[in-house]
């Protein structure tokens, strides 16, 4: 009698815990929608808040709202792509950071520390300085960045064919590649004209302003295909958290899972980074914020980390546009400025250890 009573009490507690996680995710969702609502009304063009929303609604109910051509261009061609890209990119960065930290069991793992961003940066530099690479004309930089980001992760995965796919092997390979690509980018910049060198620098700090609907559709398709795959693996990730041996004994093919997640996450991140440039920090910080608040059950942490990343990126983008308007502060800089204080606060008051 007593025992079952205790059991149901535990179950009740667990239910509450899950409820709290779901509450957290939904409140984040609410905040991001609110933020997006604000972001679409902010900008140098003289458009009122009401007009902004009328312009959005006009697309769906053309007969009910009157809008100007200027407002349509500003909202639909400039502000919305930027905000949506901010959300998508933040979402993808948050998720990839989380799963990479998960499979590598390392709190420092992120697309940045694994050299994927560095590879993309080198690809972009190659296009910007030498005009060489994959893709034509305006897709030269994009194509190059994408290919080189994938080359980085293929090399990391390739290494695991010869050594066991342990976290150490993959992290060390990633860091080595990061140094290699950074060195090659520096070399290119060193011999470039000052204008070209700054072009590379500007690419490196990220930019959401170059986004168009066609680019957005590419990113959306990749996200829609790859994110469910990562969510599908969240149980395996949970089990792997208990150690490779335990996971194997429970029937999880640890190495296989590790390589699979690495590959999917890389494709996702490459498709984002090639359009936006390297936006650091979010992939590192969003997962930690989520772990500190709701723990590392991946079924909940994956969506939560994505939304946190989106929130950070859209928030940073709004700030970067407004602080020195009309001059734009690089988004990559702004994310660090906004995220670091929050991160510090959470590190100071966290109660659990996750690694």
């Amino acid at each position: 009698m007593q025992i079952s009573g205790k059991g149901s009490q535990k179950r009740e507690e667990y239910r509450k815990f899950v409820g709290r996680k779901i509450f957290f995710i939904f409140s984040l969702l609410f905040v991001i929608l609110f933020l997006v609502g604000i972001a679409t009304t902010l900008g140098p063009a003289d458009i009122t808040i009401l007009e902004s929303y009328a312009t959005i609604l006009h697309k769906f109910f053309p007969s009910h709202f009157y809008v100007s051509e200027l407002a349509t261009t500003v909202i639909w061609d400039i502000r919305l792509p930027r905000v949506i890209m901010g959300m998508l990119a933040g979402f993808a960065l948050g998720i990839t950071g989380l799963v990479m930290q998960g499979i590598l069991k390392n709190p420092l793992a992120s697309p940045y520390t694994l050299g994927i961003s560095a590879g993309a940066g080198f690809g972009a530099a190659l296009a910007l300085i030498l005009g060489a690479g994959f893709g034509t004309d305006k897709y030269l930089v994009v194509g190059n960045a994408f290919i080189f980001a994938l080359i980085t992760s293929s090399v990391i995965i390739g290494v695991t064919r010869h050594r066991k796919a342990t976290p150490e092997t993959m992290i060390l390979a990633g860091i080595a590649l990061m140094y290699l690509f950074n060195a090659m980018t520096t070399l290119l910049q060193y011999f470039a004209d000052p204008e070209e060198a700054t072009a590379v620098l500007f690419w490196m700090v990220g930019d959401l302003g170059k986004v168009t609907w066609s680019k957005l559709s590419v990113v959306s398709i990749v996200s829609v295909c790859s994110i469910p795959l990562l969510v599908w693996k969240s149980w395996d990730l949970n089990v792997m958290g208990a150690g490779d041996e335990v996971a194997e004994s429970l029937g999880v093919k640890v190495e296989h899972t590790r390589v699979f997640i690495m590959a999917v996450a890389s494709i996702l991140i490459a498709s984002i980074v090639c359009f936006t440039g390297t936006i650091g920090f979010i992939g590192l910080v969003a997962p930690h914020i989520v772990r500190i608040v709701i723990g590392s059950d991946y079924r909940f942490a994956i969506p939560a980390s994505g939304i946190t990343g989106a929130l950070l990126l859209v928030g940073a983008d709004v700030a970067s546009m407004q602080i020195l308007a009309p001059v734009i502060i690089p988004i990559g800089v702004m994310t660090a400025f906004m995220g670091v204080p929050l991160f510090f606060y959470l590190i100071m008051r966290r109660r659990r250890e996750h690694f």
Binding site: G43, G131, Y190, P194, L201, F202, G209, V327, I328, P330
Partner: protein, 359 residues
């Protein structure tokens, strides 16, 4: 402790003496104040010159003193000798002493120049360091992207390499060229002035907040209201990165796209088609009226003839009716010839970069 103090004092005196050797006006030396306000003792007779920045190298060539060059920086090689390789076939043979920001000091010493011409990218201390390490007087000369400093640069270099007369003549010549434009522009009422947006440095949304050729040619720089130095990269922090929405809000009458003609990476630079197809810009007056053009702009600093021809080119682009008599191609060719001694350079450049051509 005493030992340490002693050696410090010794080092200090030693340095002081060393400095004085260069800085004191001995016989045969003149004190020149360079463009960052450093006083440098330069020999009266300068026969051998190492020029680190292309801006300096161009002026030395314009003075007809190219034979004094014994070594140049990498940017000079790239921005002058490979750009105009048909004019300066000898340029390739000049030793490349390396980057502006950190040249090969040993190579410079081995070339035994009388003076080193430094450039814009130097903080004064860096040039002082080169002077200290090589023991050769090093002077900062640069255009600083203003006409005033450009003339100052020509004057300073003239003083250093003993071509003061040539410098005066050259400045007078260039001054006359812009005086004509200024006169016509002064009659244009403020309300009729064209608003201009400049897309520079290979990106639609990067723009210089201060670009004098536009002002002289009678345009109003759309980004002129942006605080100078607020954005910024590169020389003198002149640029700003803005949003396409901001450009649309400025609604420029003319959009000019920087095309320096650098042989590398043409694919990665902005094209007119790109501006026209940018959905956010289709509502600007410039795109609506098809007034988007390439413009010479800068290449590794200001190329002097290009700068002055750009002023004429812009003036006619902004106000074709008021500058009916101005034959840009002919005048531009003259200016290039005045600098580099050869005709036909503007035409070649213009063809390569796709600048607007009048019938």
């Amino acid at each position: 402790m005493k030992k340490v103090i002693n050696s410090v004092i010794f080092a200090a005196t030693f340095l002081f003496i060393n400095f004085s050797i260069v800085n004191l006006t001995a016989a045969g030396y003149t004190i020149v104040v360079d463009q960052v306000g450093r006083k440098v003792a330069v020999p009266d007779k300068v026969e051998r010159v190492v020029s680190l920045s292309p801006e300096g190298t161009r002026v030395v060539i314009a003075f007809g003193a190219a034979d004094k060059l014994v070594g140049v920086g990498s940017y000079s090689q790239r921005a002058i000798f490979s750009q105009y390789s048909e004019v300066f076939p000898w340029g390739k043979k000049l030793p490349d002493v390396g980057k502006l920001t950190g040249p090969n000091m040993e190579l410079i010493v081995s070339l035994n120049p009388d003076v080193i011409l430094g450039g814009w990218s130097y903080p004064p201390e860096a040039t002082s360091l080169i002077q200290e390490k090589t023991g050769i007087p090093a002077v900062c000369v640069y255009t600083n992207k203003t006409i005033e400093d450009t003339f100052k640069e020509i004057e300073t270099i003239g003083k250093i390499i003993g071509k003061e007369k040539e410098a005066k003549k050259l400045i007078a010549y260039l001054d006359k060229k812009i005086a004509k434009v200024k006169e016509v522009v002064s009659q244009i009422p403020e309300s009729e002035k064209r608003k201009v947006y400049l897309s520079f440095w290979g990106e639609v949304t990067k723009t210089p907040v201060l670009y004098e050729p536009v002002d002289i040619a009678g345009g109003i720089n759309a980004a002129g209201s942006v605080a100078r130095g607020a954005g910024g990269w590169g020389k003198g922090r002149w640029g700003a990165k803005v949003s396409t929405e901001q450009i649309l809000d400025w609604n420029p009458d003319v959009i000019l796209v920087h095309r320096s003609g650098s042989k590398k990476a043409p694919k990665a630079s902005v094209s007119i088609e790109q501006i026209i197809s940018e959905p956010a810009l289709k509502l600007t007056n410039a795109v609506k009226n098809g007034r988007v053009y390439y413009t010479p702009g800068m290449i590794c600093g200001w190329d002097h003839p290009r700068l002055f021809t750009e002023i004429l080119y812009m003036a006619k682009l902004f106000y074709p009716d008021r500058f009916k008599d101005l034959d840009v191609a002919k005048e531009a060719d003259k200016i290039f010839k005045r600098f580099y001694g050869v005709g036909g350079l503007w035409e070649k450049l213009s063809k390569r970069c796709g600048y607007y051509e009048w019938e």
